[in-house]
Point group: C2
Chain length 332, copies 2
DNA sequence: TTGTAAGCGTTATCAT
DNA sequence: ATGATAACGCTTACAA
């Protein structure tokens, strides 16, 4: 371990050529005669020479890697998102930096510091303040992921309005009157939009909406907690619309654990269509969003250079209503 | 966006000091008089100067970031593992590179290329060949994560032998005779050890072990497939020992979906103790391993410099048998 | 086609 | 305590 790596100069000396030629051969640019190329290639091969990324970075003034900032790796949504991002970046030959903000007090400062390590940063909605994002984008290209576009900062996000269609389905097709919403609208742009679509659907259907959402996080455990708050009293809602599948699955577990029938006693819906949602009994009615594609699109935007003329500034990816059993529909 | 950042030299000129002084102030090393420090700090603040990571990297000959290589982000195990790793690295002020190998044909080459981007690499067992790891460690410090130590390469792993205790519990305490094992021993060191401990327990109990494992991956969907292979015929096993919780949950879903009683008709066990395992009905009997700690320990090893005198070369973290209902035990 | 040499932005050594 | 200046390893005009 730790065999000092050779430098261009050493390779050049061994191959008896100039460093320029070595560089040209190793990166495949410029004109080099076949014999030269052959000779240099042999030496490179023989000594396992790999150009130092730091030397290269400094000379080219680019790091050759991009970063993705997200709240934490809880659940399949973020796994899928990051895989989509990572695959695309690696494919392009670049490196992938990650940073989870959790609720670290230093999150904003940490993200700002990231700027000096990468060529571009994808920031997931709900992780750092708008001011920080603005500040960040003064130094490095930024793409908002699952957030709103901002000034000259492009965004890649899913069409959350489908949760309006879903709510309408519960209200109109199933005739449910008392709905609850689980999720914290202040927590992220996605949840904000979903809550608003939920409210709008109530207005359209002329049904009274709940005054407040059940403000909880997006993890399964939050769903279990929500079940405790919603299902025990006698004022139980007829349907629970959750901000994502994870919480919906938590509520489902809570409901079944209380001996309630789903959807008989209470209907439950989610958002995302994670794999588990089609496996549980009853199958979860939800909205499918192309999570992987979200990550991949963001990566492409970052790699191809944000802000280029004619670049997409707001990519809104289509979503699709997936009706299963948990809303009261019976599968074919 | 893209305001070119100022360099030490520019800051030095503005503050009317030398670059050396700026460097000393910005990194807080060396002796600087209070007035100088004050003056420089003001300029740095005013212009939002941040030293370029590439310049710094080259001068210090270290990137200031480490990488973790894993097969893919499927399921809670890898999420947890990476969070443990990431938190520890960020805490130390370094950057985190990730790389998922999936089954990419270029995985080995890609990992080798990673070496020129980071100061150290954690390689998860089962991702790249032993030769590649050896080769890699010639250039950069490496730690095997959930794999075996190798030559001068340290490892951080969990004590898989607990699955032997688990198997013994099924064989001896419950008296089950026909067990099946789901997992591909060739897929990773962890699964190899678990399969071997499973076999050893059979020998100890003088019970015939199945000739072959059900060779499948570690995802929930693989468990669902395993259920199809194991539970339909009339030679159904009395208990199914799965290489991890994810597959066990898949088998559980498959079993319940077939109208079988768990553990009445078939007992099911896992490994990991992911959150879901305590939520399902029946609760999953499993082995708890400190996943987060695995990641954190690996990160610390990498950061504090692998191979240092007296450094740990093989950290085997303790695991714990968790008996719930799915093996046939009734919870208190 | 090949080589020479000037950066790229820091840090760190060595004078002062 | 402060300042010149030489690395660090690479790319890339520009020259030959």
């Amino acid at each position: 371990m730790g065999n000092r790596r050779l430098t261009v100069r050493e390779i050049a000396k061994i191959a008896e050529v100039s460093v320029a030629t070595v560089s040209r051969v190793s990166r495949g640019t410029g004109q080099v005669s076949p014999e030269m190329r052959e000779r240099v290639l042999r030496v490179i091969e023989e000594h396992g020479y790999q150009p130092s990324q730091m030397g290269r970075a400094l000379a080219e003034r680019k790091h050759g890697s991009v970063a993705i900032v997200f709240p934490g790796l809880s659940g399949p949504y973020f796994s899928e998102l990051i895989q989509g991002f990572e695959s695309e970046v690696v494919e392009a030959g670049a490196g992938v930096h990650i940073m989870a903000t959790h609720n670290r007090a230093t999150a904003d400062a940490d993200v700002l510091a990231l700027a000096s390590r990468v060529d571009g940063i994808a920031v997931h909605g709900g992780t750092v303040s708008t001011e920080t994002v603005q500040q960040l984008s003064a130094t490095v290209p930024v793409v908002m992921l699952a957030g709103w576009p901002l000034d000259g900062i492009p965004a890649v996000r899913a069409d959350n309005s489908a949760i309006g269609k879903l709510t309408r389905h519960l209200l109109v097709d199933h005739g449910y009157r008392k709905l609850a919403f689980v999720g914290n609208p202040g927590g992220s742009p996605d949840v904000t939009e979903r809550w608003e679509a939920f409210l709008a659907a109530h207005r359209d259907a002329r049904v009274a909406a709940p005054r407040n959402p059940v403000r909880l996080g997006l993890q399964q455990s939050d769903g279990v907690i929500a079940a405790g708050e919603l299902l025990d009293g006698r004022s139980r809602p007829r349907a629970v619309v959750c901000a994502n599948d994870e919480t919906a699955l938590g509520v489902l577990i809570g409901a079944l654990g209380r001996g309630l029938s789903v959807p008989g006693d209470v209907a439950i819906t989610g958002f995302d269509d994670v794999p588990m949602s089609s496996l549980v009994q009853p199958g979860l009615t939800t909205v499918r969003q192309p999570i992987r594609e979200l990550g991949a699109t963001t990566a492409r935007l970052l790699i191809s250079g944000v802000g280029g003329r004619g670049a997409v500034m707001d990519a809104v990816l289509a979503t699709e209503l997936v009706l299963r059993d948990s809303c009261g529909c019976v599968r074919a």
